[in-house]
Subunit: 173 residues, 2 copies
DNA sequence: ATCTGCTTCCAGTATTTACTGAAAGTTCAT
DNA sequence: ATGAACTTTCAGTAAATACTGGAAGCAGAT
């Protein structure tokens, strides 16, 4: 196919763009999502400069977002022998990506939320007025739900792919 | 308890503030999340003016976000007989809240993402180069995963609370 | 037809968030 | 110790997003 290179490039661009939009909707910075998409579909590791060129972004921007992706565990730094430059490569296994995102969001967002719910619950403990009791009850239910969901997340995230599939099958039975 | 009113107010403020921050991290506008928190913990229905006053926001802002919450199915409009004003009340059942958020996010965000993945998959169908094949394979895996997760979401969201709990118990067995 | 009480829209503005580019920092080779 | 190759930081700026307040729209009462 004479233009496979071109059309592959186009498909990849499309993917990068859309992954960026999607990330933004989920509270992830667009550039970070784009770099992630780029690396997920890169046939080989990429340097900061290659990322900069491809997405037409500044060094600072590329650097910040690459480091963030590393801290999320979604990409890793690779060094080539004889070269001082750092290269990056993305985790490509979809289940592994899911697990890492789940783990990080839990740590960064769920845990603090639970903390707040527990505070609000404690602050309204033992109130006698109907309003106070209703508030306490609402906090209690939210806390229950969120901590339950959090434990579910842990459980799923700690599973191997195969086991998760099996369980899901049971779920659909 | 002589200051129960005050401390309840404080606890509620804390909850509203933190729910707002949390919402923002999940890609939901802060004010929208705050109004939601406010109504979830309101002992009674509230009017637009009450919301405006409590959160110290403009009419336009309150209006937009109240309507958005209605479109998410998280609050509903209530009218009192003899009054022309609209009042709002929040869904308070945690499971129901979860179901509605899941359903909307699926519709608004997952479906379009799947669409893109399918496009990219189709665009790289039958490519011969290793890069093309790798890309196609990656899109395929992502599409599988996302559509699977989406079906799981449907399944859970269509369950009654009691049944979900039972299933979850089985899950932890 | 006009007024009143309320809802909706939207142009302009403020706030937040993201990005740039240049300078400073680091590390290793010589 | 100097310099080359690369990474990191950050003040300033640009872009995106959210908010305000007034004006327009709408519907029921008079």
């Amino acid at each position: 196919m004479i233009d496979e290179g071109v059309s592959l490039g186009e498909a990849r661009d499309e993917f990068v763009t859309q992954w960026g939009i999607m990330g933004a909707q989920w509270g992830i910075n667009r550039t970070m999502a784009q770099i992630h998409a780029l690396l997920m579909t890169a046939p080989d590791v990429m340097s900061t400069d290659e990322v900069m060129e491809t997405l037409e972004i500044s060094r600072g921007n590329a650097h910040t977002n690459l480091k963030d992706l590393v801290s999320w565990g979604l990409i890793r730094i690779v060094t080539k022998k004889g070269e001082r430059k750092e290269f990056f490569e993305a985790e490509k296994d979809v289940w592994e990506i899911f697990r890492r995102v789940a783990r990080e969001r839990k740590r960064r967002e769920i845990e603090p939320a639970l903390e707040t719910l527990r505070n609000c619950k404690a602050a309204s403990e033992g109130m006698k007025s109907p309003e106070g009791r209703a508030f306490h009850e609402q906090m209690d239910q939210l806390e229950d739900f969120v901590s339950f969901a959090s434990r579910m997340g842990d459980r799923v995230a700690s599973m191997q792919h195969g086991k998760a599939i099996k369980l899901a099958m049971k779920f659909f039975s």
